[in-house]
Symmetry: C2
Subunit: 503 residues, 2 copies
């Protein structure tokens, strides 16, 4: 296994996960690798969780602040949350154990725009970073680090942390070496310069992380898979949503508002996003590109088909089957995938320049097109805003998609008034459910309401929405965005009280 | 007066405002100049308003869609709205007559991010543009146009419109010639390139607008002042807010999180913003710069003092006294002010690169730091989001400021839950009222609530907020962002019902 560590000084620092975890003390801030369940450290967090439990038994407190790229895996967020070892978590979480603690008020969670994490760390707005724990695919002879299956904020954690713990994971494909593009040209204002990217394919960085070997306090060897979960086969709802989006793209190409090969695709993660990507396999678009956060199964299929020329991302999020395929057919994918730091994959400057087609999920939208993508009933966080805000505001077209109902029909995804806002109506051009697609471009609020109710709402809720809207037109304080304050959130309160939004 | 028109072909097209207005037909889309009450056409819209009234008397409809840069003046929005001649208005309005029509549901209003208007027009998302009506300071011999006291979207309207009407306003100072920087390097994706600006001072465009003389269907000569309104002398509330912000800047410089000369200032318009700028006159910062939408009185004073090295904007918004001062002392200001198209003055790419210090007003903020800057009681629009979203999401520090109460204390600016969201908590780092300053950086929602209530709320409402928050901690569906759906908007409903938010 030590063949992955070509730097003698760092090879000499190989130790156990337990030993490495012993460097982490109470109240420390730990910057870990990991994005969408890939490239996160797998051994040290587990050892830390055990240490936390042991300390607690001994009557001592040990809780840490955990910063990552985005979501990790059960060995990190799951284990640390189960041990009640996380004081503050940022910038994104999707782990169910951590989510439960957060929503019980036992753990602080700072839900951030993913492009802003590294800049804010550099700006000093988040406090000091004590230790970085970073998974890498290998260590070069000069001490530079071969990134793993996600890049996330690793560059920043390695530069900013006072001390570094490395996990060298030999499960990761050695062919990852050379796929990354790590840009070291960022700076604090007033010294920032334009980012030299004009095509999703452009490389303007280096393949490895720099890292001062003297800062490395431990190297741990692992051989463990990423979280990689299987995707569900798209159901009829997902297929219907995908169909509406692809029809819309065809329509826009026909009108001359989109090039025939579209514009760089950004896609959130999940089964519906995957269905859209699968739908593009059969669509008439070729020579497509992707500039996105995460490369998931559907995008790998699109690459394999040749219809997607290349994809830029910051992380993989593959099913076990797709991960096996990537590993076995690496030669055909290797030069067509670029992994970048998340401050680049999500950079507003780049998203706006490229004119990405942003496709993201939502929890609920209101009749005016405001979108809640994080908080159930306004207070209970599901995952987090992630990169959706980076993309939605700057995209060429910002599309949000969802089944029209949830919880077996007891929740309408289209409501009179969203209980929490992540994306304001100005940042939402298109809303799609299996019922249809609402094209909101150029429409003032009252027009938007008509279209959203007509095109997107589930028939079980459509009349209720019309009824609310018509009464709002009569009883609202102002008529720019008609609203009944006493009733706007009544659907949510009804769900909390009765378990359904239905009357 | 014709000395302002050096192009013989265009001089030959000089005609009356009435004749020019006769080219505008029912349902047409008209792109007008104008931003924050400066540089808007003053004669043709008045003639159009008269024509609309005459047509109506004759039983014929004449209503138009009006696009501008931002707000205009009574001769444009006021006159056309009074005549009920506006079918749809975008992207910003502050005219009271138009506001009244909008909130009565008699006029459609599309409230847009100001940086996105020109791109969306080019992308074809807003429909075709029939006629541009643009005020200029003069016409060069080659037919290029000397911009007026605002740039706004004029470049785009001139390029996109099928026909052009020019108003040549000899009231505007001829010294405006050369102050503008009109960048013609924008493109649609996939052909966009980095914007070559790294300092607020950089010039990378040309001083004049290009315009095909054959498209010009009328030239109208005017000699009429901009809307220029006097500013109120800052009251104690404004001075207290300004004091908190300047103390905060000093603190951040002391901590090394801001350079000694700060970073480029962005400031919304209004009396509080003006008070902050006045406060900077006595603060220890020198060699400052501004990269903002609008140059108002306080910024002119800062320029005159030498503490502000230069200012980049898209428009002037000066009191009559300040306008007179600018005109009489033009030589000292001329080379230190740059006027750019609003897609550049507000461009997210530039705002993020420069690291602007964004200071904008709000109508209400909630205890978690979500900001409503447009809709009173969630439904009645005041002005619009303007450029605040362009700046707030991309700024180095996004600061929102407001008196802690409105309507003589009957409205609390800090509420349990905002009735409309323009700026999500992620885009709000600092909230300031006369009560104090809440620094929300790095704080998870429950911490934010404590700080906002403690630092910003008016004492009359502080206990009510604490009471709500404590009950939300017990009764909320989830505890990431505690909320009582049935009560969250009850303060607004109470105001609608009783005229006060107080119990």
């Amino acid at each position: 296994m030590t063949s992955r560590i070509a730097h003698p000084g760092l090879a000499a620092k190989v130790t156990s996960a337990e030993q490495a975890a012993s460097f982490i003390d109470d109240h420390m801030t730990v910057g870990m690798s990991g994005f969408t369940g890939s490239g996160y450290p797998k051994a040290v967090p587990m050892a830390l969780a055990k240490r936390i439990a042991d300390e607690r038994k001994a009557g001592r407190n040990l809780r840490v602040k955990v910063w990552t790229g985005a979501s990790t895996g059960p060995e990190l967020d799951g284990a640390l949350a189960a041990a009640d070892g996380i004081e503050l978590r940022l910038p994104y979480n999707s782990d169910p154990t951590a989510r439960e603690r957060i929503n019980k008020g036992e753990m602080e969670y700072l839900d951030m725009h993913l492009s802003q994490v590294a800049p804010m760390a550099w700006e000093g707005f988040l406090g000091p970073l004590d230790i970085a724990v970073i998974e890498v695919a290998g260590i070069n002879a000069d001490g530079s680090l071969i990134p793993s299956s996600s890049v996330g904020n690793n560059k920043t954690w390695l530069d900013r942390a006072h001390a570094v713990i490395l996990e060298v994971n030999s499960w990761q494909n050695p062919a990852l070496d050379g796929m990354h593009d790590i840009y070291y040209g960022t700076a604090l204002p007033p010294n920032r310069v334009p980012i030299p990217l004009v095509r999703p394919d452009d490389r303007f960085g280096q393949p490895s992380f720099r890292c001062d070997p003297d800062k490395v306090i431990a190297v741990v060897e692992t051989d463990a898979p990423d979280r990689n979960l299987p995707f569900a086969k798209p159901d009829d709802t997902a297929l219907a949503i995908a169909g509406h989006i692809i029809e819309f793209f065809k329509h826009e190409v026909g009108k001359g508002r989109l090039p025939a090969n579209l514009l760089p695709l950004q896609s959130g993660v999940g089964n519906i996003a995957n269905a859209v990507l699968a739908g593009l396999l059969d669509a008439p678009f070729t020579d497509m590109t992707a500039y996105t956060e995460v490369l998931q199964d559907g995008m790998l299929d699109l690459l394999a088909s040749g219809k997607l020329r290349m994809a830029s991302c910051t992380a993989f999020s593959l099913s076990p089957d797709a991960a096996a395929r990537l590993n076995s057919e690496m030669e055909q994918f290797r030069d067509r995938i670029i992994l970048r730091p998340q401050e680049m994959s999500n950079h507003p400057e780049i998203v706006r320049r490229l004119g990405c087609l942003a496709m993201n999920g939502l929890i609920e939208a209101d009749i005016y097109g405001n979108v809640n993508s994080t908080h159930i009933m306004g207070s209970r966080i599901q995952n987090g805003i992630g990169g959706s805000g980076d993309f939605a505001r700057n995209a060429y077209l910002s599309i949000f998609m969802t089944p029209s109902t949830a919880k077996g029909g007891k929740i309408s995804s289209i409501v009179p008034h969203v209980s929490h806002v992540d994306h304001i109506a100005q940042d939402v051009q298109v809303i799609v459910t299996e019922q249809g697609l609402a094209d909101l471009r150029g429409l003032a609020p009252r027009r938007r309401a008509e279209v959203v109710i007509e095109k997107c709402a589930h028939p079980d809720y459509r009349e209720m929405l019309r009824d609310y809207y018509e009464r709002a037109l009569k009883g609202s304080y102002g008529l720019q965005t008609p609203m009944l304050c006493g009733e706007a959130l009544s659907w949510h309160q009804r769900f909390v009280d009765t378990g359904t939004m239905k009357l």
